[in-house]
Symmetry: C2
Subunit: 482 residues, 2 copies
Amino acid sequence: MPEDFELPKVLNAKKDKNFSKWFHQILYLANIIDQRYDVKGCFVWLDYGYKIMLSIKRVWDRLFQKNGYREMYFPLLVPIHYCAQNDKWWAGFKNEAFWVKGGPEGKENYILRPTGEPAMYPMFKLWIRSYTDLPLKVYETVSSFRYETKHTIPLIRDREITVWHEMHTCHATKEEADRELKLQMAMWDKLWKECALWPLKVWKPKWECFPGAVGAVEYYSVMPDGRAMENGSCNNLGQAYAKKFDIKFRDRDGKEKYVWMTCTGNGARLLIAMIAMHGDNRGLVLPPNLAPIQLVIVPIYYKTNKNVVLTFARKIEKMLSRKFRVHLDDRPDKTPGSKFYDWELRGVPIRLEIGPRDVKEKQVIAVLRDTGDKIPLKLKNLKRDITGLLNSMQKRLLEKAKTFVQNSIEDVYELAKLKGLVQRKKIARVFWCGDGQCWDKIKAQEPGIELFGTDLKPAKKAGQCIACGKKTRTIGYVANTY
Amino acid sequence: MPEDFELPKVLNAKKDKNFSKWFHQILYLANIIDQRYDVKGCFVWLDYGYKIMLSIKRVWDRLFQKNGYREMYFPLLVPIHYCAQNDKWWAGFKNEAFWVKGGPEGKENYILRPTGEPAMYPMFKLWIRSYTDLPLKVYETVSSFRYETKHTIPLIRDREITVWHEMHTCHATKEEADRELKLQMAMWDKLWKECALWPLKVWKPKWECFPGAVGAVEYYSVMPDGRAMENGSCNNLGQAYAKKFDIKFRDRDGKEKYVWMTCTGNGARLLIAMIAMHGDNRGLVLPPNLAPIQLVIVPIYYKTNKNVVLTFARKIEKMLSRKFRVHLDDRPDKTPGSKFYDWELRGVPIRLEIGPRDVKEKQVIAVLRDTGDKIPLKLKNLKRDITGLLNSMQKRLLEKAKTFVQNSIEDVYELAKLKGLVQRKKIARVFWCGDGQCWDKIKAQEPGIELFGTDLKPAKKAGQCIACGKKTRTIGYVANTY
């Protein structure tokens, strides 16, 4: 439990005034997580939050399996001698690992899975003998662990990183690996659309990639507090890891060669980005494609017409539940108003209100979570109309996210104007020559900012590096990052 | 990796001659697990095995959620002070726990989740204030960890117990908890039917239950090697844990009371029981309701008619894939014979063979995995016919399991005849007075045997205790156990 954590009773923080407080309140009140579990950087997933995560997993599963990825599970305990094969990484990482021993008097022979590589790659070495074993495409959904010494933030910087999806591939040629990376990016783009999110895609600075790797594309979320949050990456590992873990195959020409590898992954940060992008002062706003409950039916009645209304509501529930994820809120001890409050907090896309008059008119009143619009819908075309409303809400949210990201980007041409980005809630787009000293100069403009990546495509027209003035086509993005 | 593990190339062990070797061969060759991961008691779930486990999870999810259980996720790291609340358990267990510390120089403040209680119950205490918070019904699917010092057997006795489902409930009254236990047993019975398995249900001997608990019903699998394997239990915990973890609520009458609790759980042993019960010398035989692939289509053609056959096969695949889990095996470099071998090994319930003549006759040849029967099916009623074949196979397998369990039980009236049970592949049913000394006498008849539980219902007619001759209605079951 964070020391300053206060259990919220109602959502009263304002998103635009105190984003951090609003975020913590919503995580608990919308039944997403409980932070009171007494281990730093760990928390309990409550049922509603866990359901959203499983919705995201379903999209991943569909995308991966369609593209030939096989889901497996690798053990949590990673032996030290597996880790040590990747010597440089291990020298740096071992202080950030959780060490494990059997019994209080045991020897520390293992660490907790920090990331897939050290557990998976020694197995890949066993599995791959010949070009006929390639490509090998594997994924798993697990918890990963970091003994994070920095300040932890739930779902952003945790010690147990939960519901983490990661996929790893091995190929016979560089060209195949390059193509796989493009395929991964296409899967990511689809996933982000389902989440109604718009990414800022950049190349990771070369010196932050694994030595010997070809490069990495990183997806960033622009957060409402004006900061950029890394939100997954697609890594073209080249043969760097294959050499560390000695993963070789006999090719058609009879020669032994190292495989070419890629990997990619993501976890709860997509949920965080959804909450941050679309939530409002009344709670979550979930994109219809991922919402665990798409429609909540709230019957509104007096004692005298209770049965009529409830019967009608149950009929509607039955009619819709084959096509949609529906919940009928028939709790007898709650007022309609308190039901509205509960489901708005949980971000259910459409509320269907049913009163005595609606029974007579053979209709329901649809209330849209994002706009608040109230729309009477006749029973006759109910399924078709609801499908239309959900689809247009999904599109509207995606469009909103796109506009937000685009409007957050500010072209900056002078070093001094890199100050105050967070106050202005802006990400700076700058020309940068690619030089490390210029990178340092940019970073030095204000504590917390950095050039976190470069545009996937070079500029059509060259400009002057913001730091040294040299002509360049490389565009960099500068922001405070999480 | 077990020291004596040899990587099998073909399934050549015979199930009835060398069950253990057959079992290890099938686990690897049917793509279920790879035991070569270099940590004792841990293994990699390969994609096919993991898919079967997720099929089982889907049944659990449906059953639980329908009955008001909420899926959550509790952290892996359990602080020592949570464990210590259950003082007697902790005194015994701490040597069997994996201890964890942050970094190589850290302090051991946590253990790895050994079972749900120590992580969940301190949270339950926070969540439960009043009778309106009850019942609380929670489940999670996780890995659990034991620093198992005994010989490990994959999926039966592991150090990482994977895809483990466990559910915990809190109630206001003993009656409600009793009712919940019955509900749990009803859910279990449904699950076992989906797995085409027949349980031997017994009361756990009182002295093996948690002190203060009301009792526990245990489900046992009778294994083909004549041993009994515990395969999940439904525990009526009474108020024993509530007192240890101080879980109280304010009741309608204004008084503070301890809650009444139940818990139940299971993991990969259901898969083990399915493999053991239904597998044969050609591989797995999976019950249709759980098989990740229900139908595999194998086209059989020469060069001259390849296109005609493949086109027809694809049409059949498309036609069936809306209703069934279908796979078309169109690998160009494999013979039909090697495809048959692969899918028989993986236990796919029905193989659909399609040759040039079948195209002409507008039919497919269905080959049943369990009986080997070959049945031509006309296209006209294909979906209906396949539904019928799958349903009758599911029933046939269940019936086979029931008969097997019933035939494995032998009434024994003399202590001396408790010898040689494993050689005879029998479970002994005996009268037992309930006395601990008599229990010891039974156990002493042969190393490895024990009276592992008593029948849920007392005998209609009393008999004499096998050990002391006293009249009793209690029926006990004696066997070598896993």
